[in-house]
Symmetry: C2
Subunit: 692 residues, 2 copies
């Protein structure tokens, strides 16, 4: 029996909107530009908020609250007991990033709700309103009603986005976290979703829900509570609590980025603005750059991580990559599979890994010195297979070893089923955690801090999602956290043509991704197996793009470290196209999303840091299209030579992926440029200023 | 990075199947008829089981295990330490049911796994193999390693059903439990699922996963762990544990019913066979029967639960229903909305309800006596709005009152959002529980036992799912637990034409459902509103069936108590069709599913208990079809008059739902009968034996 529910709830919201409930208090605040309106109320004894953008509801009235295991929580019987307001407009600089100068212009409303039943207690919800969205967090002061260990058992935060609002999301709670093909449909079809989740209203307004500054808390995903209303869903700890803490504490910021169109979401700086400033001091030792590595060869079954006769990480092979890197201006060589453990059945047995012990055919000291002699550094690798106790026991020694050998970046790995991160607790009991629960949130930060002591940057794969902590810990340079290029090696299915055009408006809103672009042999499966007993993957397994789209990825998918993922010999065959990868930087003065539609196409321009050069990347899904772009991002009045790498007129990702037109063209700011993009094609452009 | 996973896991299973892992032990057992083969192993230190049916894998090797909060669990490092075998073949009788005599013929294999790491400990997995499927449960003995309070934090049970196996399911974890439209697709599309979940392999073999004898434990739903492999997902308690208990304890039976075709699942008795025998002694006071009531009028906005001028549960209106029931041979009249609480904003405020206090316009004593004077009983109603503390505080007095007034059946209700069952714990802290967590499993049984003391039967709506406990507590007569008829009053959307043809092979495998069939005014929305401020529901809200299909539901959807849900005045208009509802019994000697395909059509025959009459119900989805049924269920050599109620030749649920052919026809066992079913149509037949 259910109908009453609808009737009562509708009546309730009607009352809420009409403000007819006796004694209810309603507070409002707007963004600096007045476009976003926040409403906070205690109608009916519930803490609720709502957001409107340009007069249209973005988030309908939605509940706020927390429940605890052993303490009275904040659910009903709440009243607004006070509020404070503030405003701030400042700028700050990123040591590296998609733009150097960040503006943080916001208004703040902090609302304190007090409970009228049970023990005296209060919670404050602090809202920050920017022109590009809103963040809010719960702040719990020390108080008699929250003495001792506090176990958060539920976060009641709702996001009433509306049933018919279009959504792009990946489910939360399934196997191998975050690595899914994006789904698209009305919000009513969302069962569970990781964030960022991106929405489009019929009006064209876009918004995206995520979180910022996830520290010592569990990550928030979403679950549909009733059609069109999503509710916070925190990953539980293995002891069943969602979060274990003590008062005072505050939650991460729950964020809603809002823009009049899709590209506006990409241009938002809200997530970083809601993070704390750099806590590491001088971080000039964090070096953006490009790298190659012993990696793709394993994914396409030409080499292996272990000793089955085709071991990849040998001293000799690594030198070959170092030579290639040095010759072409890359500053890193990733080596996976060099340390003891890879020969065993390491899946579910992460304890096998010895992070400071090399296989006999690999000499780290020799290679570290050899690389540095050529201006290159080894990029280290720590695959934990999810056993974090084994890793933390060895972590300091392992980082020491890397530091000694000139390794400045380490890729970490947590290959394990969802909910199968293994640890031994303080009583010696084996426990299993989620990839994005509080235990792992804490672990990742411990790794980042330990690495920072040795001036090492961290790039976790199978990570916890990014929430902008690179601002506070700038050695947290990149991470995986979505389906990367590897899925084109062996994924079933591989990434569809719409994938990168979706990532740009979803996953990438959270921060840099180590996507590992740049595959030049687009049909790796057509080559004969290297050995009869190691077959190639399925015939469907190849990158579902044109070659030009591979180049576009370097601009579209921001990361301060970018891999050129293919084998040196494959680049050697196409040095004309490879030139763009050699030229494209990974650190930017400014970034401007020019145009796009979620899952369909995107065009982004970025200005190289410390230079007057601009770069542009554009790509499309399976639909060919001609993009007409206004070059008003270029410096006014200035002339440029545009070095264009675009799909050839007969290019098609399925039938003719290599057809590419490479040419130069003179342009100036304000002109328009038309780029024909093939089916799953792209374009990459370098703009070099020339004298007037 | 993910590919290694695939490679290693494949290698692992290959080794497992080949039996090449050193020292691994494998045990097998078969069903009595030899068609089902169970394999249990400890390969790789993991407890695993697999099921094959007629030589084809049904469940590929799947993990078994449990994890605890403060104790070492059972995950890896396990070895088979012993096993016992048994066999049993017996019969028992149901006091009421879909068949009287039940055969329990099974073999048993109990396997004890001991841990080789950490403290000495063991768990036993007891398997029972029937010809119609397999059940297994975990049994944990008292042991040093499980001292004190045991909090189950994970059940590792997997069901590797295969990616491409077709599945029919409802998601678990969303708003208002169990009340969803069924989904259908390959198992790889299942994100979460409640049980029963039903599968069809390409071979035509069907199987269904569920559980039996859910007592003092959390209900099991399923979650996809990797494509085609589902994992147990127990509803957590509000304190974060999945289950809180002490050793010794055992889990409910995890069940896999298997049959060569869809109808075989309906004919299975496995769920009941895995429950404990009747614990209540003489239960002749539990009376199957049919009822009418003050209910549908509220759902179609003609009456209301509260006092807004159209109150339904008045003394006068109830007498009208009692008179109608008595005249037409019904033994019950349900009355909802008679007790104090319905006038308030009771949603989220279940504490408003007073279960022993009537509204002034309702006289329970007078009506109880009036009903009994006519051979009818009031069916009581307890809507809790999910506040179980408020209910339990009043429950004994409320049942006392009902008993005093001749009420023999009580419908309980738990209208509350998922995860919003409210209670006050022993420390006075408000808590929120899931509908199917351990707290509610315990609550429901407490209600059933308390009611049994007063010879009252219980019919919960928004219940915990059925797991066959009616065998042990025969006063637990029915329940809701799926989308019932009410969704055709106001559901958005209403139940689709495939709904009942899906329920028969999914929800109904768990036990009786109080679906409340028999709507005769199939266009309730075309009538004018009773009052201008109370509009009718959306135009789409009407039963998506023909009238003949409404009759078929009484045979297809088994329940010992069946409602004739429509208003008396609507039955008065169609007394010819109503005759079938008057004739059809609700207690059966035997039931035989004759034919069907999940979500498409179903035909079931049942023999009236204590009679030689048979009844048949058949219904179809939106596709019209001619069903040819062999009448070999009838008693051999006997002649019958078949009273046929079937779709007329021009019937169609959308354009002509009332067209029905009602006629008599002579038949005998072994003959074939062809029934033309209209789009979303049906047929209902009463077979009355006649002299040879």
């Amino acid at each position: 029996m259910f109908r009453f529910h609808i009737r009562i709830v509708l009546a309730f919201f009607a009352a809420l909107l009409a403000g007819t409930v006796a004694n209810a208090e309603t507070l409002t605040e707007t963004s600096p530009d007045g476009q976003i309106t926040l409403t906070v109320s205690d109608d009916g004894g519930m803490a609720r908020y709502a957001l409107a953008y340009r007069g249209e509801a973005a988030i309908a009235p939605s509940q706020l609250g927390l429940l605890f295991r052993d303490h009275h929580g904040f659910d009903g019987h709440l009243a607004i007991a006070g509020s404070t307001r503030a405003a701030s407009d400042s700028t700050w600089e990123q040591p590296w990033g998609e733009r150097r100068v960040m503006r943080d212009n916001h208004r703040e409303l902090a609302v304190t709700f007090a409970a009228s039943e049970g023990p005296a207690r209060s919670m404050t919800v602090r809202f920050r309103l920017f022109d590009d969205g809103v963040g809010f967090r719960y702040e719990l002061q020390e108080q008699d009603a929250l003495k001792g260990e506090v176990n958060v058992m539920e976060e009641l935060t709702q996001f009433a986005v509306g049933e018919d609002t279009q959504a792009w999301w990946i489910p939360s709670g399934l196997f191998n976290r975050y690595e899914y093909i994006y789904r698209n449909g009305p919000a009513s079809e969302v069962e569970t979703a990781h964030t960022p989740i991106t929405f489009r209203k019929a009006s064209g307004v876009h918004f995206s829900i995520h979180e910022a500054a996830l520290v010592d808390y569990s990550a928030m995903s979403l679950q549909q509570q009733r059609p069109g209303t999503l509710k916070a869903r925190l990953s539980p700890r293995s002891d069943g609590a969602l979060v274990q803490t003590t008062a005072p504490f505050h939650t991460p910021w729950r964020t809603i980025q809002i823009a009049p169109d899709a590209k506006g979401l990409i241009n938002s700086g809200l997530i970083l603005n809601l993070n704390e400033p750099n806590a590491l001091g001088d971080v000039s030792w964090v070096e953006p750059g490009k790298y190659v590595g012993i990696w793709w060869a394993m994914h396409i079954n030409e080499r292996s991580w272990g000793h089955d006769g085709i071991h990849g990480a040998t001293t000799e092979e690594t030198k070959r990559y170092i030579d290639f890197a040095a010759e072409h201006g890359f500053n890193g060589v990733l080596v996976e599979g060099w340390n003891v453990g890879w020969d065993g059945d390491w899946y579910y047995n992460g304890a096998l890994f010895r992070f400071a012990e090399a296989f006999p055919d690999f000499d780290l000291a020799e290679l570290g010195a050899y690389a540095q002699s050529k201006g290159v550094r080894i990029i280290g690798h720590h695959e934990t297979s999810g056993n974090i106790t084994n890793y933390e026991n060895q972590m300091e020694a392992a980082f020491d070893l890397y530091q000694k050998n000139g390794v400045a970046t380490v890729k970490t790995g947590y290959v394990a089923d969802a909910g199968r991160i293994a640890r031994i607790d303080e009583n010696g009991v084996p426990r299993y955690e989620w990839h994005d629960g509080q235990i792992m949130v804490d672990h990742h930060l411990r790794v980042v801090r330990e690495a920072a002591k040795r001036h090492i940057a961290i790039n976790p794969h199978e990570p916890v999602k990014d929430t902008g902590l690179r601002r506070t810990y700038p050695n947290w340079v990149s991470r995986e956290g979505a389906r990367g290029m590897e899925y084109n090696a062996w994924g079933s299915p591989p990434n569809p043509p719409s994938h990168e055009a979706t990532l740009a408006f979803t996953r990438m809103l959270s921060g840099p991704m180590d996507f590992t672009p740049g595959i030049f042999d687009l049909r790796h499966n057509s080559r004969p197996p290297v050995r009869a007993d190691i077959p190639r993957h399925d015939p469907e397994n190849f990158a579902q793009t044109t070659l030009a789209k591979q180049l576009a990825l370097y601009v579209v998918l921001y990361s301060p470290i970018q891999m050129a993922a293919d084998l040196p010999e494959n680049y050697a065959k196409r040095m004309d196209a490879f030139q763009f990868i050699k030229d494209v930087p990974t650190d930017w003065e400014e970034s401007v999303a020019l145009d796009g539609a979620v899952g369909e196409f995107v065009a982004i321009a970025r200005k190289k840091r410390g230079s007057d050069e601009w770069f542009l990347g554009a790509l499309t899904d399976e639909n060919p299209r001609a993009l007409t772009l206004k070059l008003d991002f270029l410096d006014p009045g200035r002339r440029y030579v545009a070095q264009v790498y675009r799909d050839g007129d007969k290019a098609d990702w399925q039938t003719n992926p290599y057809d590419m037109a490479i040419y130069e063209q003179r342009v100036r700011a304000g002109e328009t440029l038309t780029l024909p993009l093939a089916s799953s094609g792209g374009a990459a452009i370098r703009f070099v200023p020339v004298g007037d």
